[in-house]
């Protein structure tokens, strides 16, 4: 091939095409696949593109922890501009200097979030969704709904419960709740929590990490009760699976999902606009009613049947137990080793 023959064509493309590419603004948003992707595309991304003219490229690869590892490995330049993670990663990323601090002067809707939840996520995370750890149970197997986390220890549930692995943060939260219920606390005096989890391990059929596998056990009736995020629990209810979920009397800990911007993001301005749009009242209403989760905004208007099952009011927010996630992160290694020794060894 005579390369020089095509040189003028290449040069023309380079000079004409490149500015065109640079002008078209596009935003790379990294989050989850599955039902999440379909709902966010329809209820958030498409309206955002219509309103701003900014083209959004959706990247569904990776879980929150994998995304954070990517941000860390690339020193804040992972190739996406906005990422959906959790409050734990928001705090860690801020501490490591890998995530942008979000400014309420630029993202005006940040000021509309409940201050207690916003504080848990720290200055680098915008709370766009709140789920809570619920107690999911089979309505066709249990004569009456459980009311307490201790119900998991009932004799009729022997061999009928499953637990998340320690690497699923739900396990840590369950241990903290059990610790408080038995006279301990969520960080320093956690021994009662470990004792309770050892009892639960003896009661369980074992451990699973992924939510998808956990839910398969309750779907097919192998398991009759287990802790589960209420958003996914509601999706099972909507699918017609004979299950329901409760917020037990001891209270619960929320899973706080955040929008974050890596420090090396290429389109920071568009990223901030996207976050502001996601936190708008109408967007939050759309998100809460579609994805069946709670919101850190208490001024949203949603149907009563949705409101009563989600975290949406000041009273709901006050009822949540909010552990200091930075302290939890510091304890994770120590707790993880103890979990392997004291809890996993007790499983059947």
């Amino acid at each position: 091939m005579n390369a020089t023959r095509y040189l003028p064509l290449f040069l023309t493309m380079a000079f004409v095409g490149a500015p065109g590419l640079a002008v078209a603004e596009s935003l790379v948003v990294n989050s989850y696949g599955g039902p999440y992707e379909a709902i966010i595309e329809e209820r958030i991304i498409e309206p955002f593109e219509e309103k701003t003219g900014i083209d959004v490229v959706y990247d569904a690869v990776g879980s929150a922890s994998q995304d954070y590892a990517k941000i860390k490995a690339t020193q804040g330049q992972p190739g996406f501009d906005v990422v959906v993670m959790t409050a734990s990663q928001s705090l860690q990323g801020c501490k490591d200097g890998l995530l942008e601090k979000l400014d309420a002067a630029v993202i005006s809707n940040l000021g509309k979030l409940g201050p207690s939840l916003a504080a848990v996520a720290g200055p680098c995370g915008a709370v766009h969704e709140v789920q809570y750890m619920s107690l999911l149970y089979r309505t066709d197997k249990l004569p009456s709904p459980p009311t307490s986390w201790s119900s998991l220890l009932a004799p009729e549930l022997k061999g009928k419960i499953i637990l998340p692995t320690f690497q699923n943060i739900m396990a840590v939260f369950l241990m903290e709740i059990m610790s408080v219920a038995r006279g301990g606390d969520m960080i320093d005096h956690i021994d009662p929590g470990f004792d309770a989890m050892a009892e639960l391990a003896r009661q369980s059929i074992g451990f699973e990490q992924s939510s998808a596998i956990l839910e398969s056990y309750i779907k097919d009736g192998t398991v009759w009760a287990m802790p589960f995020w209420n958003g996914r629990a509601q999706l099972l209810v909507d699918l017609g699976v004979p299950v329901d979920y409760v917020r037990p009397k001891e209270g619960t800990i929320p899973l706080i999902a955040t929008l974050n911007v890596p420090v090396g993001a290429r389109n920071k301005q568009a990223a901030m606009a996207f976050i502001d749009f996601f936190l708008e009242k109408s967007s939050q209403e759309a998100w809460v009613t579609s994805y069946k989760v709670g919101s850190a905004r208490t001024d949203i208007d949603i149907p009563d049947n949705v409101r009563k099952r989600q975290i949406t009011t000041e009273a709901d927010l006050k009822s949540l137990k909010l552990p200091n996630l930075s302290h939890v992160a510091e304890k994770l290694s120590e707790w993880g080793e103890r979990w392997e020794r004291d809890v996993v060894s007790q499983a059947n």
Binding site: Q167, G206, F207, E208, E340
Partner: protein
């Protein structure tokens, strides 16, 4: 008298310059430097530094040797890899022998079947084993329905499940390695032995097996290193109760975000694999040297 015209001999091709040899090696050296040496150097550096101050420290190594869980993970990894290497070689040998010696038209079919598992991804194949082995799986379901057992057999979330899954994943590599080795053995040796009255079993034991030792060692080493570094199969089939170093490294990187301790685990895993590879290669080299020397005595 005829004369033979003497012509100058054709010029010999010039000996390749040393520099051209280096040039040939350069691309692979570059690739190894960029994709192996540099990341490995970074990993080693991380393992010896403090996460906050970056000061030199042995704390991560002290933790590895003192927490009990890490050494248990190393032990489980070693046992699992040895079992997988043995299973792959034992199950792969008859198939490899058939492939190397058979002239049947079914040979191509067997060859395709032996390699077929590679057409599906590791995760897919592992989920297949999960469906077969787990408490609610095919085997337990069938045995429970037939009334043979009262409660599910512990076929998953343990060493057994991981060895079964990994043997299936790695078997094609063992078969390929063994087939190549057996094909290199002169078939006339086997024919000669049989003509002199040796049984087929005797031929296999005294001729084929000893001559295929390089292939056996190669199969054991390939299987061992692949099993030791495997992540997906141990993660899915081993679960929370059977953790190997690869799954523990993943947890340290993604969940605990402790990359320095993960680096120590990765180095321990690498050293374990290098030690086994070194021992295997040294055994084969010594054996080969002894054979060459004994042949030299009689030649």
């Amino acid at each position: 008298m005829s004369t033979i015209a003497l012509t100058a001999p054709a010029a010999m091709p010039p000996a390749p310059a040393k520099t051209s040899g280096y040039l040939v090696l350069a691309p692979s050296c570059l690739v190894l430097t960029v994709f192996f040496a540099l990341p490995m150097g970074t990993t080693i550096g991380m393992s010896f530094t403090d996460g906050e101050t970056l000061a030199p420290t042995l704390a991560h190594y002290q933790r590895f040797f003192s927490d009990g869980l890490s050494l248990a993970g190393l032990y489980r990894t070693t046992v699992m890899s040895i079992l997988v290497a043995v299973c792959v070689t034992v199950f792969g040998y008859p198939v490899a022998y058939y492939l190397a010696r058979s002239r049947s038209r079914w040979r191509a079919v067997v060859f395709a079947l032996a390699l077929a598992p590679e057409l599906a991804g590791v995760v897919l194949r592992t989920y297949g084993w999960l469906i077969i082995l787990e408490d609610r799986g095919f085997i337990n379901d069938a045995l429970l329905n037939l009334g043979i057992i009262a409660s599910p057999l512990p076929l998953s979330k343990n060493l057994f499940a991981v060895v079964v899954g990994l043997t299936h994943v790695i078997l094609p590599f063992g078969i390929l390695s063994l087939t190549t080795s057996i094909q290199g053995i002169d078939p006339n040796l086997e024919r000669a032995a049989q003509m002199l009255g040796a049984s087929r079993l005797s031929v296999l034991r005294h001729i084929v097996l000893p001559l295929s030792v390089p292939g056996i060692v190669s199969s054991l080493l390939i299987s061992f290193t692949m099993a030791a570094s495997a992540y997906a199969t141990p993660a899915l089939l081993g679960g929370a109760r059977f953790k190997v170093l690869a799954t523990m490294i993943y947890e340290q990187v993604l969940f605990y975000i402790d990359w320095r301790f993960a680096a120590v685990m990765a180095i321990a895993l690498l050293l374990m694999m290098l030690t086994v590879s070194f021992l295997g290669i040294r055994y084969e080299t010594r054996r080969s040297n002894r054979r060459t020397n004994s042949e030299g005595v009689f030649s």
